[in-house]
């Protein structure tokens, strides 16, 4: 892949992962969609590597029906104020996936049209899928703790 945003290419289990510079993610996505025929965005998710730094991985799964290929993009983000550009300008379908990542991990997406919680209640406190978030939530405390 000849694109300035690709920092590293990894192959494992027959799957290709590109480690991408977060600043160039939208540019790379547009390039992959227009020139490499990755017209489908299968999903966006994240992984919390707490307490490591950079703490978050944002994962994009791309799919090309025509070439029958799948590709994974991975961006590493710092745990302090994690933010990345939104891919909604490339695929409108990124909208809900990014809202889910925001809802569960508290990762911000710049230029997102409607970045609010999607699965949790709108006034929920905390980000449930972060590793430092207890399974039973913050709101309830048990005598043994």
């Amino acid at each position: 892949m000849n694109h300035a945003g690709v920092l590293e290419t990894r192959e494992a289990f027959g799957e290709t992962t590109l480690i991408v510079d977060p600043a160039q993610i939208v540019d790379l996505c547009r390039h992959l969609k227009d020139s490499e025929k990755y017209i489908r965005l299968s999903g966006i998710t994240a992984v919390d590597l707490h307490p490591a730094e950079p703490r978050f991985e944002v994962i994009y799964h791309l799919h090309s029906i025509e070439r029958n290929r799948r590709l994974r993009l991975k961006c590493l983000l710092s745990g302090v104020n994690p933010e990345i550009d939104s891919a909604t300008a490339v695929w409108r379908g990124a909208n809900w996936y990014e809202r889910e990542v925001f809802d569960m991990f508290g990762i911000g997406f710049r230029n997102h049209p409607n970045l609010v919680r999607i699965l949790m209640p709108i006034d929920w406190e905390g980000y449930p899928l972060r590793k430092d978030y207890p399974v039973h939530g913050y709101k309830y405390s048990y005598p043994s703790e």
Partner: protein
């Protein structure tokens, strides 16, 4: 122990997603759901109407969110199979299968042919199950009550087959990491054979009731249009795409669990409306029946679990007589098996579209992260586009044709 919220709350915007008041005079905001019977689950849609025309539709989801992805991180690898059942409760075995395939890819273990064929047969049964529930309830929404009873009659037989194999009607957890939960029961060939020989004539009955039915045709033909480009852009998969003329089925394009050994067609329709999605699903039921017949006739002999003692529980008799088996048994039961560190994305063709599990292991006996890319979540995202500028009466037919399950959407 008291936690501080300050750093968490600061970034939550106080914006309400759904407009409370209409954006222009003469318009009306109508709340549909979350307990509306035709939303098949707990879905709320806020419609902005001008007369009977829908201007905008805003789906509000999350009512059935149960934190399954968080729960995965607390269970060991094999225990987590039970969680996958509860995601899409109409296609449990598809979810079992995709999770097992993903973890087996990380473990790099070989699954014997008999287990693979049984998996194919069972997931096709779950496709039949899901399509039957869809057809029955969708027809009920549009006003054809008889269909519901016909479809649930056959569904009941399928649930009995599930019970025979796994001991459970719905939450089967039958497909486990390393093979199956139990050996297929004695006499299953007769039960499956009897069902599958009778099934095509049952599909004929459904078609007889609906194909030339003027009410059904008027309510479905030309309703629920959304262009193929929009669907691909918004992340819609499965029968919706095949109803719009795109021949893409993961069973064919990226075969898994020995699907390449089965002979079946991928039905494609081109009219891109509720009718074409109905036609696709009816034909898919016929193709699934063909696959099940082939599995029944060609079922290989042999083991139903992988030869991987560090993953699969040993035979009971061996455990009592052999030291090594006893040790493996103790290790698996007390701490669970370890999965080598790595990450995989595995996807399969579920009744509703692409289910993809992204599984990350850090080398311990619990998953580090499991993300479920569920078809209902992706499909539902296309709903506002599909309902734009249509009549409110058509919205029921249109959203029913998407065939979403809210448990699958909210996880």
């Amino acid at each position: 122990m008291k936690h501080s919220f300050e750093d968490h709350t600061s970034t939550i915007p106080a914006v309400q997603e759904i407009p409370a008041t209409p954006s222009a005079p003469r318009r009306m905001t109508l709340n549909m759901g979350p307990q509306h019977p035709s939303t098949h689950g707990v879905l709320r849609i806020v419609l902005e109407l001008e007369g009977e025309t829908i201007i905008t539709a805003a789906p509000d989801i999350g009512f059935l969110h149960t934190g399954i992805e968080k729960e995965f991180e607390q269970k060991n690898w094999q225990q987590a199979v039970t969680l996958t059942d509860r995601v899409d409760y109409l296609a449990n075995l598809s979810n079992n299968l995709v999770y097992a395939l993903a973890v087996e890819k990380l473990l790099q273990i070989e699954i014997p042919a008999r287990a693979q064929w049984t998996r194919v047969m069972m997931t096709e049964f779950s496709r039949l199950n899901s399509h039957l529930v869809w057809l029955g309830t969708h027809a009920l929404d549009i006003g054809a009550m008889t269909m519901f009873f016909y479809c649930f009659r056959e569904r009941e037989d399928i649930l009995r087959i599930f019970e025979m194999f796994s001991g459970q009607r719905m939450m089967t957890s039958y497909i486990r990491i390393g093979g199956l939960a139990l050996e297929p029961p004695r006499g299953w060939q007769q039960v499956v054979g009897k069902f599958i020989r009778a099934f095509p004539s049952k599909v004929d009955e459904y078609e007889e009731l609906l194909n030339a039915n003027p009410i059904w045709m008027q309510r479905t033909q030309g309703v629920g249009f959304i262009s193929l480009e929009d669907m691909l852009d918004l992340g819609i998969t499965g029968p919706m795409l095949r109803g719009a003329g795109l021949n893409w089925d993961i069973r064919k394009s990226e075969p898994y669990s020995s699907y390449e050994k089965f002979d079946f067609k991928v039905p494609v329709e081109t009219s891109n409306d509720v009718w074409s999605r109905y036609r696709v699903r009816i034909q898919e039921m016929r193709e699934s029946a063909k696959i099940i017949t082939q599995a029944l006739e060609g079922m290989p002999e042999g083991a139903w679990q992988a030869d991987a003692p560090h993953v699969v529980l040993p035979d009971r008799e061996k455990m009592k007589t052999q030291m090594e088996s006893l040790i493996y048994h103790f290790k698996i039961v007390t701490e669970g098996f370890r999965v080598p560190a790595g990450e995989v994305y595995q996807c399969i063709e579920a009744p509703r579209g692409e289910i993809g599990y992204y599984v990350v292991s850090d080398g311990t006996s619990k998953p580090y992260r499991v993300h479920m890319r569920t078809p209902s979540f992706g499909n539902l995202q296309g709903l506002p586009k599909m309902l734009e500028n249509t009549l409110i009466a058509d919205s029921i037919a249109a959203l029913g044709s998407m065939d979403f399950v809210l448990g699958d959407t909210d996880r």
